[in-house]
Symmetry: C2
Subunit: 193 residues, 2 copies
Amino acid sequence: MYTAWVNTSERLIESTRELLWERGYVGTSPKAIQQRAGAGQGSMYHHFAGKHELALTAIRRTADDMRARAEEQLSAPGTALERLTAYLLRERDVLKGCPIGRLTQDPDVMADPVLRAPVDETFVWLRGRLADILAEGRDRGELDAALDPAGTASAVVAVLQGGYVLARAADSAELFHTAVTGVLALLSSRTTP
Amino acid sequence: MYTAWVNTSERLIESTRELLWERGYVGTSPKAIQQRAGAGQGSMYHHFAGKHELALTAIRRTADDMRARAEEQLSAPGTALERLTAYLLRERDVLKGCPIGRLTQDPDVMADPVLRAPVDETFVWLRGRLADILAEGRDRGELDAALDPAGTASAVVAVLQGGYVLARAADSAELFHTAVTGVLALLSSRTTP
């Protein structure tokens, strides 16, 4: 019985993550979550107070995953530019968009401070992490001493997020790569010879 | 009578533009459009075949406005970098997001080639326009001869779109300015002394 409960709860969370990514908060009904999870209404309300609690759990898990996957490239050996390049150019489901970034276009998520918090925290973390790597590269003499790590990190995260926007508009993942390669070219001109 | 018709049609289009920006396609019901426009159901269907036709008209008008407003800075006198800076840093309703860029996160708009077309065309135009300005700056000797105009233009448009994402996540327009200033600093390091 315990195992069955755990599985249902897991299926509800994973279904909510998928639906939030595909349809957004307003487009994700409790009924759609139950159908995708293969769970009844009673079962859903046994595990969660409702769609809001499920969405919060789902968003937090997606945010945790995103950080863990980013660390795979960001904490790897190499120069600052090599680590940033590996992170920006790693395999992504570009046309589906960023599961965290997309939530910023979701009016119900943005209007709710509790649901917005994990989205905000993810970007605060990512900007800080990239700024640290850039500062490290600058201090090691790999990058131009005049480079501003915080401003550059924000620009890089913005290119990543905007790259998804351009790719979706054109229905072509190529546009993401063009934008990312474009900012990496600007950044590589700040490396010291 | 004719004037009243024109006004109702205009009110329906403008109400649809606002609602698409605030709520997205799925969150915009024909009833909500009618209520905001102060128009009855019969009146709406007298002017438009339905929500789809109204949305297409609204998106096209928003795209035309965006181009016209971009040209104010982009066709002004100055160096390539000055014109780009003026465009990127002009007054914007940052926390509302880009009325065109936001549509890329709207699953119903992206799934519909007719509604996606004006979104795609707007970004194709903007990337091309910025690439031309950068190429002009390079040919005039203002910018580094090795600069890739197309890739750089895509990165700049991506920063603009990603800047909205970061600002909305943090509920602070400041983040947009940090990202945009960050890419301008990278670009200004490519100017020739």
